[in-house]
Amino acid sequence: MTEDDDIDGLAAEYVLGSLDPSERVAVDVRRRSDRALADAIRGWERRLGPLSWRTPEVEPPPHLFEAILKKIAAPRSAEVVFLRRHAKRWRGIAAAATAIAACLGLTVGWFLYERIAEPPLLVAELYRAAGTSTADEIMHPAFVVSVDLNACTITARPVTAQPRPGRNYQLWIMRQGVPAPESLGVLSGPEPLTAACPVPIAPPTLLNATLAVSQEPDGGSTTGTPTGPFAFLGKLMAVDRTAEGKSR
């Protein structure tokens, strides 16, 4: 993870935009559990914010708003909004309640989530995070990872990633509230890797989770953590199954 004790400097560079991709993802993960870092980031967003106020305006294509409306009108988006609104209320209730009451609220909330939300399909495209991308790698992801919450499986398929002799690709997931990357398995060839969802399974912690691939010796990392920088990175996003079906 980010070995940087200068939290304010790290937050400043994160907001400025100078971190390389793996550092940026590491900060994204760390800020979820590191209150000091999260506060420092907010401070820098406030300090540097005025720089963006006067960015030259550019007119977006006229069809974009219609496309956005379609996306927010999709049932799944509506569910997410519904959940977020209620999650905020639950947070407020939990803050004022005892730990037991908070746990109860979470249980009720989770029950409600399961009742109203069909488990979504989550997909991440992983692109090269460090080094120079080939033309093919710019056009296409190195790996595509999908999470089927019905089957509770995570599948990673190499797309442009090429096997390297003596090295394996190892897939990791970084979830909100989980400080360290969790290994999902090793890809040793062109075949897809299918892994069980991390336990306990909780879709809200998978949404926007970051997936990463490191290069490891044969058999994968023996330390339980990546032995080098992440080579490929991507974020899990919910996919509208209906739209996906229509596009095929």
């Binding site: 400043a12 560079e13 400025l16 914010g49 963006s52 305006e57 974009l64 927010i72 909004v81 991308s133």
Partner: protein
């Protein structure tokens, strides 16, 4: 259509309640600015189109989290746009600054929609930027507007990466001390 800061705050409050008309008003008032931000970071319109859509879907979903007491509405929106564009840019593109030198200019104080408080915040930040050595100020602006990494800056200036990191951190410390917050 421009909205004042207060109108934008109120519109975001209605978006948080699921009001699509308010969402359309927020889009009309801010999409040119946010598209400007993502186009500049990404340098590619096709990517910017995708990212802008994701930004506004995020705005729709997250408006409930916006707190007017902790940030101005345009800073909150611009942060969502910058973060999404930076995530995308880090793995896709490198912008040719030589083609667009005008983007390095600090803009003037002529935004009619800015209120006095915003204009004062901006004036103070620019005054602090102008206290940096010219090369350091340019680096800070290059990174902010284009999301260049330390490695990219180092290559551009033919300097070691640790030197660039030191410059950036010291410049940012200096800005913080100058702003006094």
């Amino acid at each position: 259509m421009p909205l004042s800061r207060q109108q934008l705050i109120e519109a975001l409050g209605r978006v948080a309640q699921g009001d699509q008309a308010a969402f359309a008003a927020v889009y009309a008032a801010t999409s040119l600015k946010l598209y400007g931000i993502v186009v500049r970071i990404l340098g590619r319109r096709d990517l910017a189109d995708e990212v802008l859509q994701e930004v506004y879907v995020r705005v729709w979903q997250s408006a409930v989290d916006y707190d007017a007491a902790t940030s101005s509405p345009i800073t909150w929106l611009a942060t969502i746009a910058r973060n999404r564009a930076l995530d995308e840019a880090k793995r896709k593109t490198m912008v040719s600054l030589e083609e667009r030198p005008e983007l390095l200019q600090l803009p003037g104080d002529d935004d009619p929609s800015a209120n006095l408080e915003e204009m004062e915040e901006r004036r103070r930040l620019y005054a602090c930027l102008n206290e940096l050595e010219p090369e350091k100020k340019e680096i800070v602006l290059l990174v902010y507007h284009y999301g260049l990494t330390r490695e990219e800056i180092a290559r551009r200036l033919n300097r070691p990466v640790p030197t660039v990191k030191t410059w950036l951190r010291r410049s940012l410390e200096q800005i913080k001390a100058c702003l006094g917050q």
